[in-house]
C-alpha cells in the first residue's frame, strides 16, 4: 500500500488557519455562528477552527453529529457502523451553521448530516466546510469552504490525521488509484 503525505502537520494546521479566515470573512460579524463537526475527525477540525476564531468571534457554540443512523446504505454494508454520540447546542433555529468534515468525497455523509440537522431545528443558513475536497461526488453537494481541492483517483483514499486522535495533524493519500488501488481497497 502506497502512502503519500499531501500535507504534514504544519501545512495541515495552516490549512485550518486559512479555513478559519475564510469563514471569518464570509460570515456576518453579528451572526449566530454555530460550528457542527461530523463525528469523529470533523469534530477535531471544528474544535481547531473554533479556537482559531475565538479572538474575533468569542467562544462559539459547537456541536457534533454522528450520521450512522441516517446513512443510506443500512443493511447493505456488511458490518454495522458503531454509532457515535450526537450533541447539538440547544437552539440552532435561525443560526448560521457551518458543518465541518475532514474529507468530502461522494457527498452522502453530508446528505445524511443535513437530514439529521433538520431534526434539531430550522437553521437560518447551513454551509459546508471541509479540509480536503477530493472530488468523486455522487450527489449535488459542494463545499462553501475547502482547505484543499484536487481530483483523487477512484481507488485512492484521502486520510486525515488529527492531533487529539492520531497524535499529529496530517493529510495522506493512500493507494495509487486505478486497478491496483481498487484492489487494495
Amino acid at each position: 500500500m502506497q502512502i503519500q503525505t499531501l500535507f504534514d502537520s504544519a501545512a495541515t494546521q495552516q490549512l485550518i488557519v486559512e479555513l478559519s479566515e475564510q469563514i471569518d470573512r464570509a460570515v456576518e460579524p453579528g451572526a449566530h455562528l454555530v460550528l457542527i463537526g461530523i463525528h469523529r475527525r470533523g469534530d477535531s477540525i471544528a474544535a481547531a477552527i473554533a479556537a482559531a476564531l475565538e479572538p474575533t468571534r468569542g467562544t462559539l457554540a459547537s456541536g457534533s453529529l454522528d450520521i450512522s443512523l441516517y446513512r443510506d446504505d443500512f443493511g447493505q454494508i456488511g458490518s454495522l457502523p458503531q454509532v457515535g454520540s450526537t450533541t447539538i447546542p440547544e437552539a440552532i433555529d435561525d443560526a448560521h451553521v457551518v458543518i465541518i468534515d475532514d474529507v468530502l468525497f461522494t457527498g452522502r455523509t453530508i446528505r445524511a448530516a443535513l437530514n439529521e440537522l433538520a431534526d434539531f431545528g430550522r437553521a437560518g443558513k447551513i454551509e459546508l466546510c471541509v479540509l480536503v475536497d477530493r472530488g468523486g461526488r455522487q450527489l449535488p453537494i459542494q463545499p462553501d469552504y475547502a482547505g484543499h481541492r484536487f481530483q483523487a483517483q477512484p481507488g485512492q483514499e484521502v486520510s486525515v490525521r488529527v492531533e487529539d486522535l492520531d497524535g499529529a495533524w496530517g493529510v495522506d493519500l493512500v493507494g495509487t488509484g486505478g486497478a491496483a488501488g481498487a484492489e487494495a481497497e
Binding site: 441516517y70 443500512f74 443493511g75 447493505q76 456488511g78 454509532v83 450533541t87 431534526d119
Partner: protein, 324 residues
Amino acid sequence: MTAMGKDLELGKDLIGLEDLSREQILGILDTAEPFKEISERKIKKVPVLRGQTIVNLFFEPSTRTRISFEFAEKRLSADTVNISSSGSSVQKGETLVDTARNLEAMRIHMVVVRHGSSGAARFLADRIPSNVINAGDGQHAHPTQALLDLLTIRDRFGAIEGRRVCIVGDIKHSRVARSNVTGFLKCGAEVAVCGPRTLIPAGIEDLGVQVFGRVEEAIEWCDVLYVLRLQLERMQGGYVPSLREYNRVFGVTSRRLESAADDMIVLHPGPMNRGVEIDSDVADGPRSVILPQVTNGVAVRMAVLYLLAGGRPELAESAKGRMP
C-alpha cells in the same frame, strides 16, 4: 468509519443472554449509549429502520415491555403492528407457529414475542426466517430486561465487574432473575439471591451464586439490590404464608436500608407491589433507579433492534469500498 467486530454480530435472534458472549453483551450496552440521546431530542426519531415491519406478538399482559419496544421501534422509524392473544385468532385455537407464518406471509421483518411458555421464543425463531426477539417466555428468559438493568448499573458505577448484586424475592418463577443472573455473572459481578427457601431454585449455588436467608444480610453485603415481585399468577399456592408475612420478613423497607452502603442502589423490573416486596419510601427514595431503568429500556431495545436488523455479514465482503 469504524466497523464493528465480528463479536458484535448477534445473529438472527435474541432469545437469551446464555447465547451471548460477554463482549456481545457489553457491545449492546455500548451501542445503547448513543441511542439514549435520541429520546431527549425534540424530534425523537431517526430513519435507520425505515421500511422495516415489526410485529409485537404479546400472548401475556405487559405494559412496560410492550410500550418500551414500541417506542424503540417507532423512534427508529420502523412500522409496527401490535397483536395480543385476546382479540386475535389465537383465541380461536390458532397455534403460535401458524400465527407467525401468516404474519410472515404478509412480509414482515421482525417479531417481538412474549409468551407464557418457556421456550416459545426459541421454538418460533427456529421456524420462521424473520428476526425474533424474546420479550419474555414463561420462566425462561427476558433478555432485554437484563440488558437494561446492566446498563443502569453501569451508568451508576461505571462498570459491572466486581460489583455485588443481590436479587431478592421470587427467584423460582422469575425469568427476569434467570436472565439477570446470567448477565451479571457473564459481566463479572458477584451474584447472590435472597428469599424464602421455597422460592429459591434448588442447586442455584452451583452457578456460583450465594444464597442469603435473611434480607438484612443481603442488604449489608450488596452494591445493587434487585427487588422482584411475588409472581402470584405462576404460584400454585403454599410458597409463602401471606403477603403481609412476606413483607414483614423480606420486604425492602427504608429502615432495613439504614445498614446499606452509602452508594447502594435499588432496582425493580416492575410491576411493583408497593407494601409487599418494596415499600413506597424506598421505591420513590434516593437509592431507587427504577425510573432510569425504564428510560434505559428504550435505548437498549433500540440498540438490539438496530444490531439485529443491520447485521448482514454475508454482504460485508462485496460491499467493501462502497462507504461514503
